[in-house]
Amino acid sequence: MFPQSTVLDPLFWMLLGAIQVLLFAGVNQWAKEHQLGMNWWKWALAGGWWFSFVLTIAGAFTLLGENEGNAGWYFLGFAGTLLVIAGAGLLKVLLVLRDKSQQLA
């Protein structure tokens, strides 16, 4: 976030890393409450989705920063929508699996 500064830049990335842990803790708590029965591949999918979502936003704004205004918004609109749909799909899968496991138990 502060490309030329030798102090703020590392601090920023460390802070960003730290709040990812807080984010994980929050999501973990939320998942427990909804009994989603999270296992490794579900976490991998959720993490992958979150990573590509953040990557898309960063990419779109990098294009904007490079004065490619048109490309930035179109990229955000296109890739962003696909990701939102994928996210909703992932949530649906988690919920369906939870209901199925509850019926069995």
């Binding site: 179109y74 962003g80 909703a88």
Partner: protein, 414 residues
């Protein structure tokens, strides 16, 4: 009693609105007519090398005389081809040896984003330099084949009068309208029949069939060919541009079948089991298990009608209904359209994860068309019943309220 009276006044208001909208459309069409008449030859002198004077020879042929040498330095031919929305007019400047010097698109009925895609694909530039002795061919721009073919057809048609003048032969016979039909039109009839069956049957698996129909329609009429109908198809139908042929008949066929069914059985099955965009929203609703929500207030019923009326009037006035389409269909199934439509489509897609069929429940023009047709049908039935009653009493005294063109007149505007 008061309730009955309020219902009476509401009915009168709707009658007034229905007749008013038709008159407004005819007025817009008339004003458009005035505009067309004076702008024809103004366009042509842009085609001449500066300093030449224009002299009309025959219907589609002009001669450019340059001041210096008396012998004509350039010929200008005008011709038209059939595009998505109707005829597209092109003018060519051809040198004495038959080489194309200048190409100009005079008017077009296609959606401007498609025509823009053809021009950006440099199709016009490839025409330059070709000689009209042989029939001119350039490969179409992918993603806008209809407009490309229309342009090519128009160029050959425009070259014909010049060919006749310079070389004494013509190449293009009038393109028969039939060859624009394609297998998709037959599939449209088939799918519609299936939709009728699905809506009538009591079969236990009815919703599964409906889903299957929706998905195939989304695939076929949506992503594969983007040939679903919209307000511009209504405009094309109302303006009669389709009489001289259309590049792609599928949207028109779907429109006529749906409208016919609404009038016959008062039921709109297109939205329920055929509309590709509706299908897309249904799938998204399934993913986000969205629930429906609607607004009851009258404003939300009349607002889409006003927008449809405005779009059709603009289309009529500028004789180009295709360029006033405001639906997200073009972006969703072909990534063609302006930035606003792109943002609109993104909005509709994301909202349809939370709310079921947001576009259908808010501003889709097809609802407005359905209400218009149903209302007029009931009104016509009411009038014919009154006439029978009065005739049976042998003293016909009820005058018919402002005569409607006819109940079956499907010019949509309310």
């Amino acid at each position: 009693m008061k309730k009955k009276q309020r219902k009476q006044s509401k009915q009168r208001f709707e009658k007034l609105a229905s007749v008013g909208s038709i008159l407004l459309l005819i007025l817009a069409w008339y004003l458009g007519g005035l505009r067309i008449a004076d702008s024809q030859n103004g366009l042509l002198n842009d085609l001449l090398a500066d300093g030449n004077s224009l002299q009309a020879i025959s219907a589609g042929l002009y001669q450019g005389h340059s001041k210096s040498d008396t012998q004509a330095s350039e010929w200008i031919g005008i011709g038209s081809g059939i595009g998505y929305g109707g005829p597209m007019e092109v003018a060519l400047t051809v040198s004495h040896q038959g080489e194309i010097k200048r190409v100009a698109v005079l008017s077009s009925k296609d959606t401007s984003s498609y025509l823009e895609k053809v021009v950006q694909g440099k199709l016009l530039d490839k025409l330059l330099g070709q000689n009209i002795k042989t029939s001119i061919y350039v490969d179409a721009i992918s993603g806008a084949t209809l407009s490309s073919n229309a342009l090519l057809q128009a160029t050959n048609a425009a070259a014909d009068p010049v060919r006749k003048q310079l070389f004494g032969f013509t190449l293009t016979e009038p393109a028969s309208v039939i060859l624009n039909f394609r297998w998709l039109d037959i599939v449209a009839l088939l799918m519609f029949a299936l939709a009728v069956w699905v809506s009538k049957t009591r079969h236990p698996k009815k919703s599964a069939f409906n889903w299957a129909l929706l998905l195939t329609s989304m695939g076929l009429f949506g992503f594969y060919s983007a040939s679903l109908f919209s307000s511009s198809t209504m405009g094309i139908f109302a303006s009669g541009a389709w009489i001289s042929g259309l590049g792609n008949y599928t949207p028109l066929i779907l429109l006529l079948l749906s409208a016919g069914y609404i009038i016959a059985y008062n039921k709109n099955i297109y939205c329920q089991s055929l509309c590709p965009f509706g299908a897309a929203q249904e799938c998204l609703a399934k993913i986000g298990n969205a629930k429906a929500t609607t607004f009851k207030h009258d404003f939300f019923i009349w607002f889409p009608r006003v927008i449809l009326l405005a779009a059709l009037c603009f289309g009529g006035y500028f004789r180009n209904p295709a360029s006033f389409s405001y639906e997200p269909f073009g972006i969703m199934f072909g990534m063609v359209g302006s930035l606003y439509l792109f943002v609109l489509t993104v909005l509709v897609v994301i909202t349809s994860l939370l709310i079921r069929r947001p576009w259908c429940r808010s501003l889709c023009p097809i609802n407005a068309m359905t209400d218009f047709l149903k209302f007029n049908k009931n009104w016509a039935k009411q009038i014919s019943k009154q006439r029978q009653k009065s005739r049976s009493e042998r003293a016909p005294e009820g005058t018919i309220i402002a005569t409607q063109a006819s109940a079956t007149n499907r010019s949509e505007a309310l």
